[in-house]
Amino acid sequence: MTVPLYHVLIVATLMFAMGLACVVAWRANVIMMLIGIEIMLNAVMLTFVGGSAHWGIADGQLFSLMLMALTSAEVSLALAMVVYLHRRKQTVDTDRFDSMKG
C-alpha cells in the first residue's frame, strides 16, 4: 500500500480533535463524554497501527491491543459508575453531581 504515514497521522489527528470536541461540548452529559473518550482512544490506536505498519515491527500493534484491554476495563468501570450515579440521583447530568457527601 502506498499511502504515506503522514496521511494516516492526519486522519488520526482529526479524529482525536473530534473526540476532544465531543468531551468539551457535551460536558453536561456523562455518556457522551465517555463516547468522546472512546473516539480519542481510537485515534491513538490508529496512530500506533500506522507507526507499526510504517516501521514493520509488531510493537505498535501490541500497544493497540493493550489499549483495547485498557479501554474495556475503563468502560466497564465507568458505565458501572454511571448506573450507580443514576440510581442515586435519577439523572446523568454532570451539573447535578456537585456534592461529595451522598
Partner: protein, 161 residues
C-alpha cells in the same frame, strides 16, 4: 486501488465520527460510531494489522458499543428529552479547539509534502504473537490483573444495597 480505498474509508470514519458527536440522541450517536469503527477496522486491515482489525470489530463495535447501548436503554435515556443537551455556548470552546487543530494540520500540509515513503509492511499473526508472548509477557500479566480489578470494581459498584 488500496490507496483509494484508504481515502474512502478515512472519509467514512471522519464523517461517521462527526455525525456521532453532533447527534441529538445518544442511541444514534452509538450507531454512527459503530459505522465509524467498522471503517476504522478496515483501515487497520489495509495497514497490515488483520488481528487488530478483527479485535476492533469484536471488542469495540461488538462489545463496548453494545455495552453503551445496554446502559442507555437500561436507564431509559433513549428519548431525547431525558438527556441534557449542550447549549449553543458550549460548542464555542469545542469549535475553537477543533479549529486550532485543523489550522495546524492545514499549515503542515501547505508547508511542503514529505518525500514519498516506502509502502507499508504487513505483520503476520505469527510475528505478532511471538512479540507479544516473548517480549511483553509481563505486560500480558499486568493487563490480566487490570481486567480482574475492573471486574471486581464493577461488581462492587453495581451491587444492590
Amino acid at each position: 486501488m488500496e490507496a483509494t480505498l484508504f481515502y474512502i474509508l478515512a472519509a467514512v470514519t471522519l464523517i461517521g465520527t462527526l455525525c456521532a458527536i453532533t447527534a441529538r440522541q445518544a442511541v444514534r450517536a452509538i450507531v454512527y460510531l459503530v459505522t465509524s469503527f467498522f471503517a476504522l477496522a478496515l483501515i487497520f486491515y489495509l495497514l497490515g494489522a488483520p488481528l487488530i482489525a478483527a479485535f476492533e470489530v469484536i471488542i469495540y463495535a461488538g462489545a463496548i458499543m453494545v455495552l453503551f447501548l445496554f446502559v442507555i436503554m437500561m436507564l431509559e435515556l433513549g428519548s431525547p428529552e431525558k438527556l441534557p443537551k449542550p447549549r449553543p455556548s458550549d460548542w464555542w470552546p469545542a469549535l475553537l479547539l477543533v479549529g486550532a487543530v485543523v489550522g495546524s494540520v492545514v499549515v503542515l500540509v501547505a508547508d511542503g509534502q514529505p518525500a514519498g515513503l516506502p509502502g507499508f509492511v504487513e505483520i503476520s499473526a505469527r510475528q505478532f504473537a511471538q512479540t507479544l508472548f516473548q517480549q511483553y509477557g509481563v505486560a500480558v500479566e499486568v493487563i490480566s490483573m487490570q481486567l480482574l480489578f475492573a471486574l471486581v470494581g464493577a461488581l462492587y459498584l453495581g451491587r444492590r444495597r
